[in-house]
């Protein structure tokens, strides 16, 4: 069974692959943009999680 965080990682990975391929033309830029999207997805989740923790406490 997936945990919430592992579900987020898989979601970010799949979306980043599609974004990288479709939003850039050159293979090198595709990899770079895909990695950038993945970091933003996961980073955004971590930041949002800490914000919710701070609001609760």
């Amino acid at each position: 069974m997936l945990s919430h965080f592992s579900a987020v990682l898989l979601f970010a990975l799949c979306c980043s692959v599609v974004f990288g391929i479709t939003q850039r033309s050159q293979p090198k830029m595709m990899v770079r943009f895909g990695a950038y999207c993945f970091v933003l997805f996961v980073g955004g989740v971590i930041v949002a999680s800490w914000v919710m923790w701070l609001i609760k406490h």
Partner: protein, 142 residues
């Protein structure tokens, strides 16, 4: 004044970027029905494989998490939007409806995640199909 035979030859018609063609429409349709098929028709098999694995992966995870499969005629606006998103999966959505895969209602938090996986898989497939169409009609260079 006479013209040489070479000068009389009409220039070959160049493909205008963005111009609609039957091949481009076929690529668009194929990419919608089967994720990655549009890129495969264009000979970009690595991209096709990556798109297929990514979108099919999201579909399988969504099904594994008991995500909801939307139906078109519930009358609820959010259900209609969810249906429009999931319809983007093409054949995968049809298979889910035919064989009754997925859930008819969201029962827990992870099932809600699963529903989002299924909707986003459809939306990503639409993006991939439009990308294949842009490659086919020359709007996107490579």
């Amino acid at each position: 004044m006479t013209t040489t035979p070479q000068a009389q030859v009409k220039p070959k018609a160049e493909r205008v970027p963005g111009e609609a063609s039957s091949f481009a429409l076929m690529v668009l349709l194929a990419a919608w029905v089967v994720p990655g098929a549009g890129h495969l028709l264009l000979g970009k098999w690595v991209r096709a494989l990556l798109l297929f694995v990514a979108i099919l992966g999201m579909y399988l995870i969504g099904m594994g998490l008991q995500g909801k499969i939307y139906t078109p005629n519930t009358g609820e606006i959010l259900d209609i939007l969810g249906f429009a998103g999931q319809l983007g999966m093409g054949l995968l959505y049809v298979l889910a409806r035919l064989f009754g895969w997925g859930a008819s209602a969201v029962l827990n938090t992870l099932a809600d995640y699963g529903t989002k996986f299924l909707v986003v898989a459809g939306l990503l497939n639409i993006i991939a199909a439009v990308d294949a169409y842009s490659l086919a009609n020359g709007r996107k260079a490579s």
